[in-house]
């Protein structure tokens, strides 16, 4: 048992797109920064095999020499020659622990300014986390950071509890993944969990491609200089940095496109089709380089991908994903499939407490559309209710907020997996303490 002195715990929710970190007991995470990091290969001179062939994916550590990692929005905001942008997480699981350690370091030492030795850590983990992943996390936390106590809490359970429900169906749509997970009395029903790679990331990429097709190229912020030549009049001068990597360029374009997406798009009330949306009024958006673009049908088409993944096939440039998309199910179908895999006795309760969480769930009209589609497809007797916090921060950070409250409860202090227990029983004891 961890003795719970007056030191506050640290809560970290490392998602596929953003890392949320902060002190337990607070309303929102103190630090929110990208999970992707910049990597510059320091053996570059001796080892000229080009950085292109591994752009966008985590490079194999062993074949590469030393690399220098840049973590955090600021370090990433600065363009560097040959800097690749890589992510430690693929399909919801950690594939590169070295990067994760760097992200944790950044959170502790640069954002929160704490010594991890002094604070218990609560980590939010995806439902699909394997035993090895959990033990690895425990090992690093206790061995490297010497934390006094640790707890691994499941994303879906935290979201469910934070909404006051021990039983619910959690629809968590984040950056890299959408997960539908039934929670019953605080247990995640693993067999009924459904996931899909369609999250905010895919939607952003589709938007970039769709705009490109219309002749609009998003210029990354580093690639031009904008000067005020006369009051109110600007001049844009293109700059050329031939050593910028493709992955960095894409990272910068995604940042802009994701803002366009958040500003203008909304889920259509009925399934999208080209003909009925061809005359839809457009919305304008001013890009950082000063050009104003008009977004029309894409405002509705992009969000509808969540409901109808096969729409991806109609977007030129997304061919690589189109094949996968054909086999994916839309959000309402995932909900129904997941519920049907659960015991008959709890189905009606799940239908009446469907919780929306995650960054992508803040999309306008998403909740209304999901509820409408489910009403049409669910069994007659079921009473469908989709719930989402009206507060955008609460919706986006529901997992973190749940963890923050839990870790700050007086009664919870006896539940931690403590350092002495780790030393006595080893990393595998995490399965016992944090089931």
């Amino acid at each position: 048992m961890y003795g719970g002195d007056e030191v506050s715990a640290i809560v970290i929710d490392l998602g596929s797109h953003t890392c949320k970190a902060g002190y337990a007991g607070e309303d929102a995470p103190k630090a929110v920064f990208p999970s992707a990091v910049g990597s510059v290969d320091e053996m570059e001179v001796d080892n000229p095999d080009n950085p292109e062939d591994n752009s966008g994916s985590a490079p194999d550590l062993k074949s590469k020499g030393k690399r220098k990692l840049y973590v955090g929005s600021q370090a990433l905001g600065f363009r560097r020659d040959h800097m690749e942008v890589i992510s430690p997480i693929r399909d919801g699981t950690v594939v590169d622990w070295d990067i994760v350690e760097n992200i944790w370091d950044h959170a502790f030492r640069e954002c929160l300014l704490i010594d991890p030795k002094e604070h218990p850590m609560l980590l939010a983990e995806p439902c699909s986390n394997t035993q090895q992943q959990r033990e690895k996390a425990a090992e690093i936390m206790f061995e490297k950071y010497q934390v006094p106590a640790l707890f691994l809490a499941k994303n879906a359970v935290l979201t469910s509890f934070a909404s006051g429900r021990a039983t619910s169906l959690v629809v968590d749509s984040g950056g890299g993944l959408t997960t539908v997970a039934p929670v019953h009395d605080g247990y995640v029903l693993q067999k009924a969990v459904c996931t899909s790679p369609i999250g905010g990331g895919i939607l952003t990429d589709c938007l970039i491609k769709s705009l490109e097709q219309k002749g609009i190229t998003i210029k990354p912020r580093y690639s031009f200089k904008r000067k005020e030549i006369r009051p109110g009049e600007f001049q844009t001068v293109d700059l050329d940095f031939p050593d910028t990597t493709e992955s960095y360029k894409l990272y910068c374009q995604r940042a802009i496109a994701s803002d366009i997406k958040e500003c203008v798009s909304r889920a259509p009330d009925t399934p999208y089709d080209d003909s009925s949306y061809s005359n839809i009024p457009t919305t304008s958006y001013e890009l950082p380089d000063g050009q104003t673009i008009e977004v029309g049908a894409d405002r509705f088409k992009i969000p509808d991908i969540l409901f109808n993944p096969s729409l991806v096939q109609t977007i030129p440039g997304m061919e690589s994903f189109a094949e996968t998309a054909a086999s994916l199910r839309g959000l309402p179908q995932m909900v129904i499939d997941s519920i049907n895999k659960c015991d008959v006795d709890i189905r009606r309760e799940l239908f009446s407490s469907i919780l929306l969480a995650g960054g992508t769930s803040s999309m306008q009209q998403l909740k209304e559309r999901l509820e409408k589609d489910l009403l049409e497809e669910s069994p007659q007797a079921a009473r469908v209710k989709v719930l989402a916090s009206g507060n955008a921060t609460e919706r986006r950070f529901s997992v973190w907020i749940g963890g923050s409250i839990l870790a700050s409860l007086g009664s919870f202090q006896q539940m931690w997996f403590s350092k002495s227990e780790y030393e006595e029983h080893g990393a595998s004891y995490v399965q016992r303490k944090c089931p």
């Binding site: 509890f161 934070a162 006051g164 021990a166 009395d185 009664s411 919870f412 539940m415 089931p435």
Partner: protein, 137 residues
């Protein structure tokens, strides 16, 4: 043990009063609250009180656990009763309170043995008399 359980303790009185409701039937309902890191009995309803009295006894914007002994007549005209467990977690209550009650529920339910129907309610419509009746049958 459920994942992310709060570790909240349960006062012995909760068990005792529940046994009295179940075996001696001297209460219509019991309302429990979490106070000073344990679950305690807040209110007791005598057998004459109705379901409406019970719902009125629940605070509108705070979470509670409650047990209600529901008498009804089956389609075969048979007098029966069932014990309901209700997790009352109104949408208007504070996030912290919702979290505390939801994460302590599993443990608390294990302490009181003999619940026949369980429901969670976040607004009064989710625990209306009609719903109680349909769940009892």
């Amino acid at each position: 043990m459920a994942n992310a359980a709060s570790g909240m303790a349960v006062h012995d009185d909760c068990k005792l009063k529940f046994l009295e409701l179940k075996a001696k039937r001297i209460y219509r309902f019991i309302i429990f609250k979490i106070d000073a890191q344990q679950v305690v009995v807040e209110k007791l309803g005598n057998p004459e009180e109705s379901y409406e009295d019970f719902t009125n006894a629940l605070p509108a914007d705070e979470c509670r656990y409650a047990v209600f002994d529901f008498d009804f007549v089956t389609n075969e005209n048979c007098q029966k009763s069932k014990i309901f467990f209700i997790a009352w977690s109104p949408d208007t209550s504070k996030v912290r309170m919702k979290m505390v009650y939801a994460s302590s529920k599993d443990r608390f339910k294990r302490e009181i043995d003999g619940i026949q129907v369980e429901l969670q309610a976040t607004d009064p419509s989710e625990m209306s008399l009609d719903i109680i009746k349909s769940r009892a049958l």
